[in-house]
Point group: C2
Chain length 237, copies 2
Amino acid sequence: MTREDVLVQLRVSAKTPAAEEIARNLAASIRDGVIAAGTKLPTEQRLSVQYGVSRTVVREAISRLKSDGLVESRQGSGVSVIPASLRRSFKLHGAILEKQQVIELLELRQPLEMASARLAAVRHTPQELAEIADAQDRMKESEDWSDEGVQADLDFHHAIAKATGNPFYADFMAFLGGALHATILTARSESKNPNIKDITLREHLKIVQTIAARDPDAAGQAMLLHLQGASQRMTAG
Amino acid sequence: MTREDVLVQLRVSAKTPAAEEIARNLAASIRDGVIAAGTKLPTEQRLSVQYGVSRTVVREAISRLKSDGLVESRQGSGVSVIPASLRRSFKLHGAILEKQQVIELLELRQPLEMASARLAAVRHTPQELAEIADAQDRMKESEDWSDEGVQADLDFHHAIAKATGNPFYADFMAFLGGALHATILTARSESKNPNIKDITLREHLKIVQTIAARDPDAAGQAMLLHLQGASQRMTAG
DNA sequence: ATTCGTGAATTTGTTAGACAACTTTTCGGT
DNA sequence: ACCGAAAAGTTGTCTAACAAATTCACGAAT
């Protein structure tokens, strides 16, 4: 019974819609430079023959590339590749994160979180501070290793980013948090350290206090300590 | 004659493809919570009636939303909105950047550039250092206010990001650079300061020297000074 | 011979209808 | 009340056609 379920699962996950696969294929060709910036893609007609699908499917694939800012189409002319310097979307194309990628992503996040904490310490409103404290409370009351605990953890960081008053911080931290969500969850569940939640809560508390005190240096430092600890717990576990 | 040209121009720029406009409309509804996460979009049939277009156009619009990680479709079931916490793309949906947005974007960039310079100082290889110096030379030889000068400037920062050895830094700085490209260009051309290039080059030189010396603190500090100066020149000019 | 239109060929944008594949709902029999 | 099969609903894909815009080629006028 379970074996059958696995087979079904595999079959489902294996059969990605054609448009998605073609979009991925073309995107890879563009990113690897096989199709150079400034040049044109083959016509929809040729692509449909090449991939053995209808023009409809090809058009849906190209739609995705447009949305990613990889190409630009002009009626009557064709679809041309946009130079890398003008691309306006940032995307994690590899869905699953390897450990090395996790480390690199955390390395990107660290200076942003520190700056976020510093700015939040200086600029936060009472409402924003309350939202930060609320996320902390939700995490305190959650069961260990639960998904809702991880969510509260990420909400905590997101609330701080929102308290900077800079929407780019809020959006980008939410994005990074989402990318790390699954990784954090598995890291926590695999961890042998039973006090992981208490340690996290203590580090969070220090951050809340320093932000509430409007002390940017201390807030940045408290955030740094928290991230270093969390990073160690995640990548070592 | 010229008046007619303007009219044509306006008509052209006003006529965005239907799929793009619908995608934008739906994306806004999702981001604003009008269509809540977890719920389903109206069926393609209903949307095609609602917007007065064919189902094909609706499908292309939805294709874009899928690419943005906003929705997920299951054959036979429908198209459901993905929770914000799981979105895996970061995008500047507002195409044109207002001055306030530029300031906020620079504020996001600053801690990343500092971290980038620090990491590059510690980790750079000779080749990577040469690439940084090369961008600096290209900027030196470019004409004032030229597009190629701005490109060399951005290449300089990108080269540093690559020298961190962390591809996320390289990708994200390239993304931010692209977003700021047009703004930097106009800021330079409008600036009354004729020495803007020389000042920039001097600040860059300091960064190169400190990175070459493998001194992360000095490199970070040099980068901070450069960004503060550049930011002032851009937003004040 | 060169340049300039004009029309033909290309190419993307959009529509319509049909069928396949899959999911959800409905309804009838036990 | 429950179960299973049929029906309805929904997304995925294909085909055929036309509209709209661009590009190209050819011929005419200078």
